[in-house]
């Protein structure tokens, strides 16, 4: 009797077996989701056809027709190339923005904890001001009220060929290849390897003997000397391209357009105010005993911050920082308000010039998804490396 009960408990009929039911419901749910997606897609394609709108992706190979300033893109190139060019601009804004926002955020965040009253208050004012204003407003304000108000090109501010500043952009000297650059690039690679070797040597020496390693100084010194010697030895393959002001613009040099600058600085100022709070919170989260131990060891206040507090604070701040980086990337789409040709702007112009909207928006979403996942991947790797075992 008891044996049959056990057998029945072990093997109930399939319609009462929890494992079977679970699988069945999951399969049903999956079918439901797939059916919904298929239905929506079918509905979309059907309606697009009925409205006489293209349903495929052939439009990507059509000539774009419009021009993109400050790029090598020509209007005869395809829509696909235009979107790629836009993605490059988005990436340029996001990467430079992330670096600058991180540096500014850490500085402000540390300043908020400064014993100096003025510095602490100034940092707090900055954070409260920029954290509580919409980023679009900051960007538009910077563009209309700051960068457009710079003097027009006819009255540009110039300083002995080093920079030309007007509302057509800031132009600084750039490098220009004057000869064959191949051998020099090889030398640069060698210099980097030598610098790395110097770094490792100094670290080992420090570990072995305990004498100060000065590895940053050593590595940079080696790098500079090798690059400088290589530059002379390979016949000076690069020259300076100095800005020359004309009536309508500046020739030569490297130019930062006011639109790009307004977007970049708007995003940096806004994101840095959030990062500063993350930095402050992370530093406060490091146990007070750690700082006291550092004091007891006789470390200076800078050493205490650099060697004891910040390394532990970094571990806490990486995940929320990643969020801010993703926000910065996505906020770069606000560049459309001030005519920055990043990927959202280019996609919208393509749509207005005849590219079908659903497919174009789909591609746009894919671009942001790829960028976001890349940022998440990098920050996760850093997070894993910093995590305590």
């Amino acid at each position: 009797m008891s044996a049959t009960t056990t057998a029945a408990t072990r093997r109930p009929p399939p319609w009462r077996d929890v494992r079977v039911l679970r699988l069945a419901f999951q399969a049903l749910f999956l079918v439901g989701v797939i059916a919904l997606v298929l239905f929506l897609l079918d509905n979309l394609v059907f309606n697009l056809r009925r409205l006489g709108i293209e349903t495929g992706f052939d439009f990507l190979d059509q000539p774009a027709g419009f021009a993109i300033p400050d790029s090598d893109f020509r209007s005869t190139q395809s829509v696909q190339d235009a979107i790629l060019q836009g993605a490059r601009t988005t990436l340029a804004v996001a990467l430079v923005g992330i670096v600058l926002a991180t540096v500014l955020g850490i500085v402000v965040g540390v300043a908020r904890l400064s014993p100096n009253w003025l510095m602490r208050r100034a940092a707090a004012l900055y954070v409260e001001l920029f954290r509580n204003v919409p980023v679009l407003l900051i960007i538009v304000f910077l563009y209309l009220a700051v960068f457009l108000r710079l003097p027009p090109i006819g009255r540009a501010i110039e300083w002995v060929d080093v920079f030309v500043l007007s509302n057509r952009g800031l132009v600084v000297p750039s490098l220009r290849a004057t000869g064959s650059t191949g051998p020099f690039l090889v030398v640069v690679a060698l210099a980097l390897a030598a610098a790395a070797a110097a770094w490792i040597w100094r670290t080992r020496r420090f570990d072995a003997t305990g004498e100060p390693h000065h590895r940053v100084l050593w590595a940079f010194g080696v790098l500079l000397v090798v690059v400088a010697l290589g530059f002379l030895a390979t016949g000076r393959p690069y020259g300076l391209s100095l800005p020359e002001r004309g009536d309508l613009g500046v020739a030569n040099g490297f130019r930062m357009a006011p639109e790009y600058a307004a977007l970049l600085f708007g995003l940096v100022l806004y994101t840095a105010s959030h990062i500063a709070e993350i930095v402050r919170g992370s530093i406060l989260a490091v146990s007070r005993g750690q700082a006291e131990a550092a004091d007891a060891l006789g470390l200076s206040s800078f050493q205490r911050l650099r060697l004891v507090v910040l390394p532990q604070a970094f571990r806490i701040m990486i995940p929320p920082l990643a969020n801010q980086y993703l926000n910065l990337l996505k906020n770069s789409s606000l560049g459309i308000a001030i005519s920055v040709y990043e990927v959202t702007k280019v996609t919208r112009v393509s749509i207005a010039q005849g590219a079908p909207a659903p497919q174009s928006i789909g591609i746009l979403m894919l671009v942001y998804l790829v960028f976001s996942l890349a940022i998440a991947l990098v920050t996760n790797l850093v997070n894993r490396r910093l995590a305590l075992p």
Partner: protein
């Protein structure tokens, strides 16, 4: 037991979705001219019955016309100081509303940017787009748009500051030129400068406001747009910036820009209704019927005029089968006016824009407007 109920519900939902997928598709198949995938009228007017002009019926049921317009071009479509929409294009929204609904004020104006307009039309957010939109092949072909009678024959021009040396496009080598993005002018700018071998930097904005700021601050050297729009902007140029005399529009005409109302593809009856409402203003000018003398015209003995105004000829009012009231032309003329009145009121020689009729005159005066006969 509970788990099983949920499972059945899931199954039922999935089946329902599949069934809905098929049946909705079939429904749409029947209504060749159905409005839009997301429009609300889709659900209210699924009467079936072939291409029976669903938008016309929807507008008449709703009692208002959704008209996609511009809000930033003086003379054509802008918001006045009193908060009213005014302009040449706005008056044609009123013309359509007067013809279809008998009330020129039964219009819901939907201000749109150049980049939004076709999406708004495709999605059914608006019934008709009257927003200085150029008739082009690719828009007709791939934007799902149906272009109707041209209301304004325009051409692309270039506006520069009075104190600059520019006389023609060839002088503009290296210049920065501001343009609205998502327009035909953006494409013409590129092809015209390329054809002339003149290099330039385009700066394309979504809105006229930041564009105007950029031009005022000398961020760009030229502003290209339709000549009529440039004239409107010039006429409204702030006195602090030197007023209209601070600006100059170059002689060159860079393109053909026929502007007119646009409706969605696939609803011919609605297209016909809008089209003939517009043609009525031209026909009225040709017959010399205006809002002033419409009552006298109703008494006219001329059978052509009688037919046009929907008055009984030999006992029966003429019905062209457009789905409009027989006397729609009377409503249009009485409430809004004929083409000449609309033109002079908004953009003509006495308005701030001071545009001559030029090619926008009737064919009888050497212009391009040639209304098809109403019979």
């Amino acid at each position: 037991m509970r788990v099983r109920t949920i499972g059945l519900a899931t199954l039922a939902t999935a089946a329902l979705l599949l069934a809905a997928g098929c049946s909705l598709g079939d429904d749409d198949d029947d209504n060749g001219g159905e409005a839009a995938p997301t429009g609300t009228e889709t659900t209210t007017t699924t009467t079936g019955g072939g291409a029976t002009g669903n938008v016309l019926a929807a507008v008449q049921n709703r009692g208002t016309l959704n008209c996609g317009v511009n809000e930033a071009v003086p003379g054509f479509g802008f918001v006045s100081e009193g908060g009213e929409f005014e302009g040449f294009d706005i008056d044609f929204c009123k013309v359509v509303a007067a013809a279809v609904l008998g009330d020129p004020d039964a219009v819901e104006y939907k201000p749109l940017t150049a980049e939004q307009r076709f999406t708004a039309l495709q999605s059914g957010e608006i019934d008709v787009l009257i927003r200085n939109t150029t008739f082009t092949a690719s828009r007709d072909g791939s934007e799902g748009a149906n272009f109707l009678t041209t209301t304004f024959y325009d051409g692309q021009g270039m506006m520069v500051r009075e104190d600059s040396d520019y006389q023609e496009l060839e002088d503009m080598e290296g210049a920065t030129i501001c343009v609205l993005s998502g327009t035909t002018t953006e494409l013409n700018l590129e092809s015209q400068f390329q054809a002339r071998g003149v290099s330039y930097t385009p700066l394309a904005f979504e809105d006229n406001d930041p564009l105007q700021q950029a031009f005022q601050q000398e961020r760009c050297d030229g502003w290209t747009s339709d000549k009529s729009q440039l004239a409107g902007i010039r006429s409204n140029w702030p006195d602090a910036q030197g007023g209209p005399d601070a600006l100059r529009i170059l002689e060159v005409t860079m393109s053909k820009e026929p502007l007119g109302p646009v409706v969605r593809d696939g609803d011919d009856e609605w297209g016909d209704a809008v089209n003939w409402a517009v043609i009525a203003t031209l026909q009225a000018e040709e017959f010399d019927i205006s809002s002033e003398n419409i009552d006298e015209a109703l008494e006219s003995d001329d059978p052509e005029v009688q037919r046009f105004l929907g008055q009984p000829v030999e006992g029966e009012p003429f019905d062209a089968g457009l789905g409009l009231p027989a006397d729609f032309a009377v409503q249009v003329i009485r409430e809004v006016g004929n083409y000449e009145e609309i033109y002079e009121r908004n953009v003509g020689a006495d308005s701030a824009l001071e545009l001559e009729r030029g090619i926008n005159a009737l064919w009888t005066d050497g212009g391009l407007h040639y209304p098809p006969p109403y019979r």
